[in-house]
């Protein structure tokens, strides 16, 4: 404890020191507004790109969830033995995942088919009925995973049968979505790394401008923590600014691409809207900016101060 300083002064003094560091950092930024804005803009663009891709992906997934369909599983029992068919019937009776099921007899199916033809005599050319018996299963739930599990269970019961479920395209869409997320996280990580390096460089060059002040401060007993404090505040400010800018860019981007996207979707008979990201997602964007800003400043200042005497 230095003479003239009391214990109860230490916490307010610490707060004051932080406020000073923040104020000084803000002043520094206001003195070079163009440079500061460029940092914010760069971070904003870097954050906005993956955020925009994410919104597109999220909406694409919503598309598959919105589609109104009762999933069906069809079993084509071509050349399946009678014993196996009995197994299948027992399974269909007991499996809770099955809502109901219809047995379409091959002869019955052929008869119905014949009715639909303009010239039923055509089918007389056939020696035997080419149609297999078909079991049409309606699952109790539309949940893709349950449906897939049921489909596998049925396929296991009748090894010879061809099993087709009409939610195949949903699962394809889902796996495409997973792929999209994977690509997005790689792109996002690379862009984040780039942003981190840019912010670290900006911080290091800012500290290089302050090097005489830093040298004098070191001689006067300043710690590295004290010296990098304004830079960390600067990083947080840039990060927040970048996050806000990214949010604005994202909203503008969605606003601009909404109408053309809906038109394109309509051409494919799809009802696809582009919904705006919620407050949570915008907040996440802000936090991502803040974290990148802080981390970049921490890296840059750590590097720049490493050689400070």
């Amino acid at each position: 404890m230095k003479p003239g300083r009391r214990l109860q002064d230490t916490v307010p003094a610490w707060l004051e020191a932080h406020r000073d560091a923040a104020r000084r950092s803000l002043q520094r930024r206001l003195q070079a507004p163009v440079l500061s804005l460029i940092s914010i803009a760069v971070l904003g663009f870097i954050l906005a790109l993956p955020a925009y891709l994410w919104v597109l992906l999220d909406n694409a997934r919503a598309l598959s969830a919105h589609v109104d369909h009762d999933p069906r599983i069809a079993l084509y029992l071509d050349g399946v033995e009678a014993a196996t068919v009995a197994d299948l019937e027992r399974h269909l009776e007991t499996d809770a995942r099955v809502e109901r099921w219809i047995w379409i007899d091959a002869d019955e199916a052929l008869a119905r088919y014949r009715e639909g033809l303009a010239d039923p005599g055509l089918l007389d050319w056939l020696d035997e009925n080419p149609l297999p018996d078909v079991v049409d299963v309606v699952p109790a739930t539309a949940d893709p995973e349950t449906v897939a599990a049921l489909r596998e269970a049925l396929a296991a019961t009748v090894p010879g049968a061809t099993v087709v479920s009409d939610d195949d395209w949903v699962r394809q869409l889902n796996s495409l979505h997973q792929l999209g997320l994977r690509i997005l996280s790689v792109v996002g990580a690379l862009l984040g790394l780039g942003a981190l390096l840019i912010l670290a460089l900006a911080t290091a060059s800012e500290l290089r401008e302050r090097r005489e002040e830093i040298a004098i401060s070191r001689i006067s007993g300043a710690t590295h923590r004290f010296l990098r404090r304004p830079s960390l505040y600067g990083g947080v400010m840039t990060g927040l600014g970048g996050g806000i800018f990214a949010g604005i860019l994202l909203l503008i981007g969605i606003g601009l691409s909404r109408a053309p996207l809906e038109q394109a979707a309509a051409a494919f008979d799809l009802e696809l809207g582009l919904s705006l990201p919620g407050a949570t997602h915008l907040l996440a964007l802000l936090l991502a900016g803040l974290l990148l800003g802080w981390l970049g400043a921490r890296l840059g200042s750590g590097h720049a101060l490493r050689d400070a005497p």
Partner: protein, 225 residues
């Protein structure tokens, strides 16, 4: 306060900047280091301030063994020292007040106390009326006095000055040395490097003469360790 025992400092593979230097400065004393340019005066002061580490030998300053001082302990040690440079090293991006306040900011002084101390320091060097101006607009003598105010504002126990009168005319130089004498009178130990032997001798203080990295003459307070 300061005690060097057979201290040698070598930069890279060059010849020794200091060779086997031993000296002692007692608490409350005031002493001068003289010697031609390149004799090792600055190196000696930088070693004492903990800005350089000795190649060999022991340095004790204000109760700290400098060779055993950890990196973490260095800032705390430096806060007990005031340093004055020949080229004053003021920051031209801020007014006189902020320049002088720098060591107090590092010590996390609160505003009112900081203001009081900065004013007191500026008053001592006769520049209270200049607290708001940019140091760039000051004369060389005034700039040096701001540098001195910054060195003593946190009331260090030891004041080190490296050719503080180097750029000043004789009258201003005497004025500056008189300031150091005043600080010494109120208890600050002072060690001042200067190549101006005539000026130094008139102060009537112990003088250590450095020549080619070696102590040549020994005087009372700078007795051999």
């Amino acid at each position: 306060m300061i005690r060097l025992q057979r201290v040698t400092k070598r930069f890279g593979s060059a010849s020794e900047a200091l060779s086997n230097v031993s000296l002692r400065v007692d608490p409350g004393a005031m002493a001068f280091i003289t010697g031609p340019s390149g004799a090792g005066k600055s190196t000696l002061l930088r070693l004492i301030a903990g800005l350089e580490r000795p190649t060999r030998g022991r340095i004790r300053v204000n109760g700290h063994d400098l060779d055993r001082l950890s990196n973490r302990a260095i800032p705390g040690f430096r806060r007990s020292i005031g340093l004055v440079f020949q080229d004053h090293r003021l920051l031209f991006d801020r007014p006189v007040f902020d320049n002088v306040a720098l060591p107090l900011e590092i010590l996390a002084y609160r505003r009112p106390e900081m203001r009081k101390r900065v004013r007191a320091a500026l008053d001592k060097v006769g520049l209270l009326h200049k607290e708001g101006v940019n140091p760039r607009t000051l004369s060389a003598g005034e700039q040096q006095r701001v540098g001195i105010a910054r060195a003593i504002v946190h009331r260090p126990v030891l004041l080190l000055a490296d050719e503080p009168t180097g750029n000043l005319d004789p009258a201003l130089s005497r004025e500056i040395l008189q300031l150091f004498d005043d600080f010494n009178r109120v208890g600050m130990t002072a060690l001042i490097a200067s190549h101006d032997l005539g000026l130094v001798e008139r102060m009537g203080k112990p003088v250590l003469h450095l020549e080619d990295g070696r102590i040549e003459a020994r005087a009372a307070a700078g007795a051999p360790a």
